[in-house]
Symmetry: C2
Subunit: 199 residues, 2 copies
């Protein structure tokens, strides 16, 4: 058996199988699909991956991923200045952008503080955030970290760092839109009740 | 917003999302993972895809996919001659190879006969199979098509074409290894009973 013959395709399948969300079976399906549709799928995908491999990088300003040193959002002059939305991860930034509700600028921490995992403020973009608040005439910092223990702990730390310098807000916690009480956990129901608003 | 900046990464995500087994969320996860591990994951994957895009092709002899005109199995002199295992699809060939039970050679039809979809024998590798049986001193043709209506219909057609020229066999149908009767469908239980063997 010629080693390079089977090897290249099996090698591709093995690599695809390690991607999050894929396993051996779905990797085999995907690669066979790509090979069958070489011009429509495989070659464009190979080109795109090659391009992203060469150019993808984190924005020096906010930590978003893009293909230049300053990401499209930081470079966008039409976005509102003065408001910075702080998130844990690029995937959270993308989620916020999909909602379309926020027109300001972002700051991606790159995770949350964790004593267990030895992640300190300098391992996240917290010093950079403090610098930005001082330098960018920021009127509001929205803490849009996850509603988890680590997320809220990190939010409190940031609030301590920035307290008094700028208006600080955080996302409301409560019943998700479309949510039914019978399916919610006690913590969410409690938070929703504690933060009830007069109508 | 710079179009090429967001565009390349979003474009990659959109293409990944169309692969079988992947959707928008898993594509975003996979691409972020790749970007974070550029040297370990993204670049090797881009290289591998590029190689496969250039070299992947179907074996001229049997229809398997590989990176040369004659696949590794057809080119392997250590494999048994005289036995051809006929399958519908390359994924079935791979499944048979994973089991390790078959040491002969393969023939991939590329699908099944279908009047509804206008798939005739010449649209599959059936004429090629008939030629191989004549040319390769074949002692047995194993019909390893799927136990579906289309698979069995196609197997019957092939049996008609080859009947008398060569010994024809097909895979046993019955209880899957590890299978419990209470979870099986009536058809499988029926087939297992009809094909019962004396112990």
């Amino acid at each position: 058996m010629a080693d390079t013959d089977i090897g290249d395709i099996e090698h591709l399948i093995a690599m695809m199988a390690k991607l999050p969300g894929l396993g051996p079976r779905s990797a085999r399906r995907a690669v066979l699909h790509m090979i069958r549709k070489r011009a429509l799928v495989l070659t464009p995908l190979a080109d795109s991956l090659g391009r992203v491999a060469e150019t993808a990088r984190e924005c020096l300003n906010c930590g978003n991923v893009g293909t230049s040193d300053i990401c499209g959002i930081c470079a966008d002059e039409t976005r509102a200045n003065g408001e910075i939305c702080v998130v844990e991860d690029v995937s959270d930034l993308w989620a916020m952008e999909r909602s379309g509700v926020f027109k300001g600028r972002y700051h991606v921490l790159g995770g949350t503080l964790s004593a267990l995992d030895a992640v300190g403020p300098e391992d996240l973009r917290i010093p950079r955030l403090v610098d930005r608040v001082a330098a960018e005439a920021v009127s509001e910092v929205i803490l849009a970290l996850n509603a988890t223990i680590d997320g809220q702990t990190t939010a409190h730390y940031i609030a301590d760092q920035l307290g008094g310098q700028v208006k600080l807000t955080s996302l409301a916690q409560g019943v998700p839109v479309g949510g039914e009480l019978d399916y919610l956990d006690d913590g969410t129901i409690t938070a929703a009740m504690m933060a009830r608003k007069e109508i």
